[in-house]
């Protein structure tokens, strides 16, 4: 059995069994793309009563390489407002880049990191240059060299 498949199989049984509060598995057909819903659990007015959908894409080198994680915009699942989340759903977070990623992270831990990233945010804004980036970017998130400068989030 391939490396990635085996590990994802294990993660999936765990996700089916027990999940931390505010995280829900939406679909996991095969081992290439999974959808999960996350909620922010505290009373942060920016994200109150909202559910956000995350799309995970796994390469065959997972978990040596990070998965590609983006927010997806659907009818009742907006893209959360955050100074590090572009309006096209691309997330600028060091642990999702090859520099910050370590193979001991997993789907669950990423969801929890994103939950806490949202919980801690107070700014109702998009990243600098959001319009330009969204209009011009055609690269995949893993090929973008983000500059991680902000340690407050």
């Amino acid at each position: 059995m391939a490396f990635a498949t085996k590990r994802l199989g294990k993660e999936l049984t765990k996700l089916h069994g027990s999940l931390p509060p505010g995280i829900e598995l939406v679909s996991a057909e095969g081992f290439e793309e999974w959808l999960l819903d996350i909620k922010v659990l505290d009373a942060n007015p920016l994200y109150l009563n909202q559910t956000y959908r995350l799309k995970f894409k796994f390469s065959p080198s997972y978990p040596i390489e990070p998965p590609e994680v983006t927010f997806v915009n659907t009818k009742d699942r907006p893209i959360p407002m955050h100074p590090h989340i572009y309006s096209n759903g691309i997330i600028c977070l060091d642990l999702l880049g090859s520099q910050g990623w370590t193979p001991i992270q997993n789907v669950e831990s990423i969801c929890m990191s994103l939950q806490s990233m949202l919980t801690g945010n107070t700014k109702n804004e998009r990243p600098e240059g959001d319009q330009l980036f969204v209009a011009n970017n055609r690269r995949r998130p893993r090929d973008i060299d983000f500059y991680y400068h902000d340690n407050t989030v």
Partner: protein, 443 residues
Amino acid sequence: MDRASKDDAFEVTDSTDWLDTPMKSLAGVDAALRCQVCRDFYSTPMITSCSHTFCSLCIRRSLNNDGKCPACRSPEQEMKLRNNNAMEDLVEAFKRGRADILAFARIPAIPVAPTRKRSLEQAEEDVEDSSPKRRRSGRTKSSSQTKSSQKATVVADSDGDSDYSPEDGTVECPICQRRVKETGINKHIDDGCPDELQAFPHITKPGSSRTGSGYAKSSIQLPEKAIKRPERLPQLNYSTTKDNVLKKKLTDAGLSAGGNRQLLEKRYKEWITLWNANCDATKPKSKGELKRELEIWERTQGGRATASSSTQMGAIIRDKEFDRDAWSGKHNDDFKQLIANAKRKAQAKKSENTSSANTPAESAGTATPDVAPTTPDVVIGDNGNDDPILIEDTPEKPASQKRFFDESNSDPPPSSQYQSKLGVLDKDAGLASDITTIRSVQP
């Protein structure tokens, strides 16, 4: 031991298995015996200089990728890895007992007491039945809950039992460890242990029968030492290694030397990783097994996985040995469709030209996203050499299925593969004149 690890490969076991049993605390034990990278029980655990433990293969792959410990991100080198033998013994012991303990833990609470008593009694009877030589009553009584684990313990003990001796009137020579007739032992020693195995071909210890009789001595006492341990392969400096040297290394190892330079490097790297991880193992696998593992890699991450992606595709088409006939045969329908599309678009453009003029940006348009995706096999990755995800730019698709952000017009063409493809078209079908038409058409 072997059986346990094989079973494990096909069955997804997890530390959460314990949570719905009364033995919840074992979930922690179970989790602590698993590698954080593959989430499986440690296989050939290695300890890093920062004192974290991973499977040999996991940590080597990980270090190949970024040279850092996955747990604490401190820099680490493959050379510094050391076997964590205590962990390995612990894992093997736990794996052996796991299924039985889990089965026992899952028995509903009330019928446990009588069932357990009965199985213990039965187990004791089993012990009485077995030969007195094999009996280890103290250990077996305390260590087992079920009959099957009882048996496993007894068998395991007898294997390593140095007191074991067949009752055939022979004794073990203290010098050469061969079985010798008790009456002749003194003469045997005095004669300097002559080879008497011919006379007693059947009298060798269990386990030694597979090896040649000449090696009987070493295989009896230390069967693992008899295996010739493979030597580690050195890492290669790929930037200074020429193509033919790399190809030779692959061929010497009995591996395929096909594919472009990037793939050759990746394949050789993976082979070194597999090989060196195998060198750490207590029971190294055969080269054939390693090759099968590389085969899996080849299917999922290597040549056959990437062959369909755009960069590889271009390389394949440009390759000298590229089979043009097979290619045009395989994609004949696609080409026909492309041609039909091109003609249709050309006509559409003519009528469009009469009605309204194109904007400068449109007429300069380099991309041909509407023509391209009619080829179903084609994967348009933005860069990806191992990118399995299909991204199509079909304009007929509803907006929601499109890429999640819009493309700008100023971008380079979606992929140069169409150019090369059209190049093939060009040669094969003499369609050069149509290409210019295709390019200037708008979606």
